[in-house]
């Protein structure tokens, strides 16, 4: 089979593919991150590229109706299926010759602003302990000289000394440690000091003696706290003897090429041969890329990283460990392990110290995982009597309600709308993303003001911008409470594309009725989740003492607008706190503190999970929330007041 050379611009990366492989696969091979929300099914239309040179064959498919840039060109159903416009969907285009492909800015996953917990506001977060106690840790021992009369070997003496000092007995000694031991503590050696490294595993009795080093170990060694997000992966490099943070970096999860939300990826893993290994490779690659960047910029060797804590949702954790994720979707949701035992770096393919211990934060249910548990640990909400609602708004909305006595959690699928997905002009909070609107209605037109991240020219709209957009569209009378356009049909900003109304916001940035509908569904899912969990315990919104907002929004979110659209409860602003990337913070705490690890497990055991797919409560609440702000307007008293 002939191979064609594909040159990607402006990256100037070249790969070779066969006529049976599409351009999305070529981009994957070239490691160029493209948007592909539907994982190449040809329906999301996000992976548009421009063919500059050469010919492509288009998969005969209903959805292949020309390009977004040329809306008025009717569907091309020619038998030849040769592309008649330079814009094609990468996932549906196959080479017929060597190609030069240009990747438009809108298709590319652009540089990312890393969200860290530094953006937290108004949060009484858990303080970090002073002296670190990571799960991979050194113990210094001084062994007495061996006498020729005793029959003891080196290991027995070592174990006795270890037990005397720490009262610990390892359940396993690595061969590598034994090999080191064989070489040291000779009769003439004056130095009887050694350092042993132990790995403990939260929730399991395992205690492994991994390394033995002569002398009193005074070097530095490193650890990694990782937030395994569905969209972005963020890692923090820490020095473990002192517990000092060195750097934080985040990049897109390479799994984005296999679908934007967890469900798409689960289905990809299930329906494609080697799907699971592709997905595992993608996430491990992503973390390795981060490791490389972090170690280079901090001038350390990657083999000095010996402990890792990963906080991810159950899907990410499964895919990272290469566990078949089918059971996450199918009743009775019996997964392999909610608290996977620690594994070695070499087993998953992380390019660090091969025996480094990698611990994934435990989860509790198929859609409630370590990222949330880590966030709860860091939030400190289990310390007092006051009732806290923890809300993590991501592709899945996860909520945890409770205090020191009890915790109850639920998860609802909000869809990726707030992460900018499924919307033509949706983006993450990248430079140039519109994060705020002010729309006013004039007699003939709309006045649209906006701000962007880093004050750059507008590239798209990020989550907080979308919330702002929705709130403004309703307030200015562009849409009704259900999100339908109520402007006169001949309004200068309205146009019809593919039979659907859309509104021109800024330059060529638009929003359509179905996109608005997506946003309303997303906000409704979150509010319905909150209401369902409260209703389950017969509590009213008012009993909540504080709310912690975790996830992508952070300080960009305009609370007033989020309340105005009915996404978040209408409670006094001082009850709200912003946690930023609190999952990363939780992972870091677990990396540095044995106490935090113990607490994580306690929290996971204490928390009960409410399956919203059982019964009708969630469905009813969801339908009631598909309205701006809500069918029950009394739930939003401040809005009624504002109107008056």
């Amino acid at each position: 089979m002939p191979l064609f050379k594909i040159l990607f611009l402006p990256d100037k990366k070249q790969v070779s593919i066969s006529e049976k492989e599409n351009l999305l696969q070529a981009a994957r091979a070239a490691k160029i991150p493209l948007k592909a929300s539907c994982a190449g099914a040809g329906v999301c239309r996000t992976c548009q590229v421009k063919v500059k040179k050469g010919t492509v064959r288009i998969e005969p498919d209903e959805h292949q109706d020309a390009s977004i840039k040329q809306p008025d060109k009717a569907k091309e159903k020619s038998g030849l299926n040769k592309a008649t416009t330079p814009y094609v969907l990468a996932c549906q285009a196959f080479p017929l010759s060597d190609l030069t492909i240009e990747i438009p800015e809108a298709t590319r996953l652009t540089k990312l602003q890393v969200l860290t917990y530094d953006s937290a506001e108004n949060l009484k977060a858990c303080p970090l302990s002073v002296s670190p106690s990571p799960h991979y840790y050194p113990v210094y021992l001084s062994l007495p000289p061996f006498s020729s009369t005793a029959t003891k070997d080196k290991l027995s003496s070592l174990l006795v000394a270890l037990k005397q000092k720490t009262s610990l007995v390892p359940t396993r000694v690595s061969l590598k440690a034994l090999q080191s031991l064989a070489k040291i503590l000779r009769p003439n050696d004056k130095d009887r000091e050694i350092t042993v490294f132990l790995t403990e595993d939260t929730g399991y009795p395992a205690l492994s003696l991994e390394e033995i080093i002569p002398g009193h170990f005074k070097e530095k060694y490193y650890g990694l706290a990782v937030d395994l997000g569905t969209t972005t992966v963020v890692a923090e490099l820490l020095e473990l003897t002192k517990g000092i943070s060195l750097a934080v970096k985040g990049i897109y999860n390479q799994q984005l090429l296999y679908g934007e939300d967890v469900i798409s990826r689960l289905i990809y893993a299930q329906e494609n041969e080697n799907g699971l290994s592709y997905l595992q490779e993608a996430i491990v690659d992503t973390v390795n890329t981060l490791i490389k960047e972090l170690t280079i910029s901090n001038q350390i060797s990657s083999s000095e990283i010996k402990a890792v804590v990963c906080a991810g949702n159950p899907t990410m954790t499964h895919l990272f460990l290469g566990l078949d994720p089918v059971d996450l979707r199918l009743k009775p949701y019996t997964v392999a392990a909610h608290n996977p035992p620690a594994v070695q770096a070499q087993e998953v393919g992380l390019e660090i110290y091969p025996q480094a211990a990698i611990k994934c934060v435990p989860g509790i249910a198929n859609y409630l995982g370590g990222d949330v548990i880590a966030g709860i640990v860091a939030s400190n909400m289990t310390e007092g009597d006051e009732l806290t609602l923890f809300i993590d708004v991501g592709t899945n909305g996860e909520m945890v309600l409770g205090n020191k006595e009890w915790l109850i959690a639920c998860s609802c699928s909000a869809g990726p709308a707030f992460e900018g997905s499924g919307l033509k002009y949706g983006v993450l909070a990248i430079p140039g993303a519109i994060d705020r609107f002010k729309i006013t209605s004039t007699s003939t037109d709309l006045e649209v003001e906006y701000t962007t991240v880093d004050h750059l020219p507008p590239k798209g709209i990020c989550g907080s911008g979308l919330i702002s957009c929705l709130a403004n569209l309703y307030r200015s009378g562009v849409i009704d409470r259900r999100g339908k356009f109520i402007l006169a049909p001949d309004h200068p900003r309205l146009r019809i594309l593919n039979g659907e109304k859309e509104l021109v916001l800024v330059e060529d940035i638009t929003i359509s009725e179905s996109e608005i509908n997506n946003l309303i569904r997303a906000k409704a899912a979150i509010f319905a989740g909150i209401r369902s969990i409260l209703q389950f315990l017969n509590l009213s919104l008012e009993v909540i003492d504080s709310l912690i907002l975790a996830g992508g929004f952070g300080r960009y979110l305009n609370l007033k607008e989020a309340v105005a659209i009915g996404m978040l409860p209408d409670l006094p602003p001082q009850k709200y706190a912003y946690a930023g990337n609190i999952a990363l913070k939780g992972a870091k705490m677990m990396l540095l503190s044995a106490e935090a690890r113990k607490k994580t497990l306690e929290i996971a055991h204490k928390m009960i999970y409410l399956d919203l797919s059982e019964g009708n409560t969630f469905t009813e609440e969801f339908l009631a929330a598909l309205f701006i702000p809500h069918t029950n307007l009394n739930l939003f008293p401040s809005l009624i007041k504002d109107k008056k």
Binding site: D480, R481, R482, K484, I486, E620, L623, A624, L626, F627, T631, N632, L633
Partner: protein
Amino acid sequence: MPVKIIRENWSGKVNTTSLGVEPKAIKIGGEGALPFLYFEGEIPYRPVVACEVWDEKPNDWPDLLTAPFAGVLGDPVAWAKKCLAYGADLICLRLAGAHPETKNKSPQECALVAQRVYAAINTPLIVVGCGEDAKDAAVLPAVAKALTGKYCLLGWATAENYQTITTACDIYGHSLIASSPLDISLAKQLNILITEMGFNPGSVIIDPLVGALGYGLEYAYSIMERIRLSALTGDKMLAMPIICFVGQETWKTKEATSTSLECPTWGEQARRAILWELLTAVTLTQAGGTIMVMRHPETVSHFLAHLLQGR
């Protein structure tokens, strides 16, 4: 041993709506209690029966249903008069011929039919379109205008077309039917949208798209019970009387349309079909339904007998 009777003290009540022109005006609603619980609050008016009259001869009605209207089908004026003779409280004119896939009648044609029917009966009139949102939005304003001052009830206003219909009903002084599928939130949402246009909530009638006996009746039953409970506990956006299109749902069921020969173990078709329509209506009035739109004259007389017996 004296038993302490429990009376709920409801804070709200159902809106009162008046249809038609004196002396034949009909009032409905106004209930301050659960259906038929007279001891608990005011129940000023009984439920009413509207008979369906079509502008065109229906082609999918079973013989059992067309027989009582022999000679008048296709003549809406004569048909309406016949329905009144059978005892109907009011007439529900359905503009089936407006549908783009059938006769695609113009708004003006439809308005004329409605006007002629009203002139002939001088009885409160309900006019519903063909059920296609866009066409109804075009037809009903013309009908509304033609019936100015007659205080009719027009439908169906849905989430897709409520704006034009609401405006027309507002200008020409009619009530309107707000129709949404089988969900209390959707019903309330539509009422909010309509009343936020400045429309009088007292002129809105809820159509929850009921199902017939054996075909989702219980969903309608519970949603209607919840709507009534909401009204009684003070929810103004659910305090509207409810209309149930009983005949339309009943007469497409297998139980009503199968002949005695086709289903011998189910008993005689005549009795079965009448009971099917009757029990659907009876059940829905127990849940709080106020206007029952029915088709068969026998059902109408049994139903009215039941209502009058209870007073």
